[in-house]
């Protein structure tokens, strides 16, 4: 009986919000329109590229001229990346930096001398030189382009690292099994490392395509970043609206009427919270379904997406209930809710790539469900599955539980029907 009443209250709220035209405009139409706008800005709908971003100008300064430095240059100049990047190879670092300063290049990738020998051991001595790192100079006015270039570079470095570790492991196994003697170790290690590196880079998925666990090729789509950003921003509107309904119900006397029915206040509060959660889930699923159909947007692994939608709705609902608990009038909730929606939208990475923003912004972004949700949706869109998004799912769920506990304590202290 208790669960039936909880569901009854929640479904009633869901029905009411879907009969409110102005709420529907903000819940569903606004994120669609903004997503279309962002897609248009990035060229997603112009048909020029599959990703919406093309021919990113990048300057490579290769002073290494070793195997790895050359491999990195080859990768950026390969046919796979021809549509995405427009590389220029220079030998003068200062001249390259000027191109970035003049906004003629999105970034400079500087491969210092000795980079290859700092990773691949000398075949004779088995030694490696001191650690030398590739330097990346980003153009602050092109955050999305630099983010993509940085991702490509990071993947290259990861594969080199994999190859180096593989070489070490192979040599130690060969030594342990007596298949080689210690004097051959350096040469064998260098050969294996180089081969692994070559194979790894040759097989690189550093293109705009990612390979999912199922082996399906997934196209990187700029809308896969924009659409969740907008959906999550307007999710905050939905939960604030839902929280506001708790106060509105008190004002229109339906909450006191519920309280004099044979229903406990805990159950009523639970029903209201569940109603906010259901509305949030419905909003996200409609937006995901709509963008999939209209924009042919790929949201990634279905199971992962559903779990992430539930977790994002829990996290956001926590904020909505907190607003309703702390604030005193529907007007206050509407005003503060709108402000929270915009601040969380900005802070959560809905408009900018957070990796290009200062560390303190990145730190504060972590209080928003937007940032965690966007992490999860981006991971799924790039081919991740449920196991890759466990952290955002756990954080969002925990966030919702903690915020709801704080709200429940607050409401218990002040009374459900106090406003």
């Amino acid at each position: 009986m208790a669960m039936r009443k909880l569901l009854l209250i929640a479904l009633k709220d869901l029905r009411l919000i879907f009969r409110d035209r102005s709420a529907l405009i903000l819940m569903l139409a606004a994120p669609f329109i903004l997503t279309i706008g962002m897609g248009a800005v990035t060229g997603r709908f112009s048909g020029r590229t599959s990703s919406g971003i093309s021919e990113i100008p990048v300057t490579i300064v290769n002073q290494d001229n070793g195997q790895l430095g050359n491999a990195l240059v080859e990768m950026f100049t390969s046919a796979d990346l021809a549509d995405l990047v427009e590389p220029v190879v220079l030998s003068d670092l200062d001249a390259a930096k000027i191109l970035v300063d003049e906004d003629k290049s999105a970034a400079v990738i500087f491969i210092p001398e000795g980079f290859s020998t700092s990773i691949i051991p000398d075949p004779v001595t088995g030694r490696i030189s001191d650690q030398i790192e590739i330097e990346f100079y980003s153009n602050p006015v092109r955050p999305t382009s630099t983010g993509i270039l940085k991702t490509i570079l990071d993947q290259f470095i990861n594969q080199v690292e994999i190859a180096r570790i593989s070489g070490e492991v192979t040599v130690s196994q060969l030594l342990e099994n007596g298949l080689i003697n210690p004097s051959q170790a350096a040469a064998v290690g260098a050969a294996v490392g180089q081969e692994m590196s070559d194979v790894s880079i040759a097989r690189s998925s550093i293109t705009t395509n990612n390979i999912t666990d199922s082996g399906e090729a997934v196209e990187f789509d700029i809308l896969s970043y924009m659409a969740p950003g907008m959906a999550l921003m307007f999710l905050m509107f939905t939960v604030a609206y839902g929280g506001r309904s708790l106060i509105v119900e008190n004002r229109q006397s339906t909450l006191p009427r519920m309280l004099v029915s044979p229903t406990s206040s805990t159950l009523i509060l639970g029903g209201k919270v569940f109603g906010i959660f259901l509305t949030a889930v419905a909003q996200l699923l409609i937006l995901i379904g709509g963008t999939s159909l209209l924009f042919r947007l790929y949201w990634g692994d279905l199971l992962g997406m559903i779990v992430l939608v539930l977790a994002a709705a829990i996290g956001a609902t926590g904020w909505g209930v907190l607003l309703a608990a702390v604030l005193k009038s529907p007007g206050q909730v509407a005003t503060v809710g709108s402000a929270v929606m915009l601040i969380f939208g900005l802070l959560g990475g809905g408009f900018f790539d957070l990796s290009n923003l200062p560390k303190w912004v990145q730190f504060f972004s972590r209080i928003t469900p937007n940032a965690w949700g966007l992490d999860g949706f981006s991971t799924l869109a790039l081919g991740g599955t449920l196991k890759n998004i466990l952290t955002p799912v756990a954080v969002l769920t925990g966030m919702g539980i903690v915020l709801f506990a704080i709200s429940a304590l607050w409401i218990t202290r002040h009374g459900l029907s106090r406003k």
Binding site: M1, R4, K5, L8, K12, R15, L16, R19, D20, Q252, S253, T254, P256, R257, M258, L259, V260, S261, P262, T263, S264, S417
Partner: protein
């Protein structure tokens, strides 16, 4: 038979303000009991405590034998509440509202459908049941508001000023439906500041003012408190000063109390007919034209005036 409601020294304080001061009364099974008093007298606060919405500061009340402080859930199951405000969802239809509230009171399936149907018939809105509440007139909303309180067929119905702000026709329909419900055995606690409603409906009346129950009994018992007095109502012009005339008339022999309101003066007297001539003469001397004079037999208005020195509408 034990009373269906037994109120024992009920007190409610909000900070320094005492809204209800140690009131005690009871309601017998099948009785209509009215709490009559002006706005702000403590009627709604009393109903809120009796319906378990407010926790009493002290005292208790037994509803169908259950304490409002110790057994609130049993109390809630026994009562129906019709609040003063329209406590309905404007974006839901009447049918959806009734179904929602019916389920909140534990109805389901066939019994829910049957009760919703019966209540729609009772409130006369079967034809418009699928219209949203926001399209209804004030009177229609009031009828649905009452219907919600009747869905689970409570033994005791609390009605808090159910006729406020509606047209005379809807008011008549509501008063008739209260009598009809009572005729079928439902006990009713009815609060109002309209003396006529209390007089028409009630078996017994409690008069409440400033949180205190100042009189309690049947209408006959209450009017007996006023004694063998009549009330003379003088209607004067809009530009006249009722206070000045009341002050002057209070000095006349036989006038027990003179109470001015907007364009009227109420004179409490033991001999109304004998007082008419001197009253008209004195008003004439003061240059005030008396337009009409009514003589009222003792009623609840007079009782309130007698007990508080103020008219009920003040």
């Amino acid at each position: 038979m034990p009373p269906i409601l037994e109120v024992q020294n009920l007190v409610k304080k909000f900070g320094d303000l005492t809204a209800v001061k140690e009131i005690s009364f009871d309601i017998k099974e099948g009785e209509i009991f009215s709490l009559l008093g002006p706005n702000g007298a403590g009627k709604t606060t009393t109903i809120s405590m009796l319906s378990t919405l407010f926790i009493p500061t002290s005292g208790d009340a037994l509803v169908c034998g259950h304490s409002v402080t110790r057994e609130p859930m049993q109390v809630k199951r026994s009562i129906g509440v019709v609040p003063q405000e329209i406590a309905l969802y404007e974006d839901l239809t009447a049918l959806e509202n009734l179904r929602f509230w019916g389920q909140m009171y534990g109805l389901s399936g066939k019994s829910l459908n049957q009760r919703v149907d019966e209540v729609l018939e009772l409130i006369g809105l079967r034809d418009k049941a699928r219209q949203r509440i926001k399209t209804y007139s004030g009177g229609m909303k009031r009828r649905v508001n009452i219907g919600v309180g009747l869905l689970h067929q409570p033994r005791l119905l609390f009605m808090d000023e159910p006729t406020v702000g509606i047209d005379p026709q809807s008011r008549r329909a509501i008063l008739d439906s209260v009598k009809e419900l009572n005729h079928h055995g439902m006990s009713v606690l009815y609060t109002t500041h309209y003396m006529e409603e209390a007089q028409e409906l009630s078996d017994r009346v409690g008069i409440i003012d400033h949180g205190e129950l100042i009189a309690l009994g049947t209408q006959t018992e209450l009017t007996r408190q006023v004694g063998e007095t009549d009330t003379l109502i003088l209607h004067i012009g809009e530009n006249e000063d009722p206070q000045h005339l009341a002050d002057e008339l209070s000095k006349l022999k036989g006038v027990m109390k003179a109470e001015p309101t907007d364009h009227e003066i109420a004179l409490v007297t033991s001999s109304a007919e004998e007082l008419i001539a001197p009253v008209v003469t004195r008003a004439d001397q003061l240059g005030i034209k008396v337009q009409t004079i009514d003589i009222r037999e003792p009623n609840l208005e007079a009782v309130f005036l007698h007990l508080t020195g103020r008219a009920l509408r003040d």
